[in-house]
Symmetry: C2
DNA sequence: TTGACATATAGCGTATTTGCTATTTAACTA
DNA sequence: TAGTTAAATAGCAAATACGCTATATGTCAA
């Protein structure tokens, strides 16, 4: 599995796309998180699981795949794992897709 | 299945990405096609299958998925089905991905 | 040290994807 | 009409993906 395959597969799932979307503006849905500032630090896995009404292990797996693709950064702090977007990786992927497929202009 | 899901799934496969890449410059690999000009008309399914060393039915299905995503246009002429890129759909998808994920700039 | 909470991992069942071969359909040609 | 070629479809097997529950691990507080 190349990184590009990982990235392409990571986006082949509505939940994971929506996670990336939510993490673009964590304050909109996760301002109730008290252990850490969702904007500055990230959103913990359990809050994401609850938001999507999936089990904690299921969300953990989604996060793992997004992490492997490089799209999110997960930092462990105390007992929480805080997730935030890796803007550089997202920009890079979009640029790769554009040039790789030779998409005219966006 | 929404069109976006179809598109996202269509790109979740290396062969299909490569098909789109090849169809951007058909003359580079398919100039031997005699029944129709590969640039003007498109590339037939069997030539694509041979290029990837997959069976004709397998390539036929890849084409079907790319067609459903709107990424390629397949026009039947005599006994051949000629495939060409749908630039508008590719551009539209890239734009959607960019704005949907709020990717900064490409 | 025990208990709790958040996360990660293991293991399982189901659904989907992807390849194949065999067959059918469509278009042509001798 | 019979045979040939290109593509599509049906049906099957293997691999992957994705959800769950149960359990292990890590962190902390009483």
């Amino acid at each position: 599995m190349t990184i590009r395959e990982d990235q392409v597969k990571a986006l082949a799932n509505e939940t994971r796309i929506e996670v990336l979307r939510l993490l673009d503006d964590p304050s909109a849905h996760f301002s109730m998180q008290e252990s850490a500032d969702p904007v500055a630090v990230g959103v913990c896995v359990l809050l994401l699981a609850e938001h999507f009404s999936v089990s904690q292990p299921t969300m953990s797996r989604h996060i793992e795949l997004l992490k492997r693709a490089g799209f999110i950064i997960a930092k462990r702090q105390q007992k929480w794992t805080y997730c935030s977007r890796n803007e550089a990786a997202l920009t890079d992927y979009a640029a790769w897709l554009k040039s790789s497929l030779n998409i005219k202009s966006i």
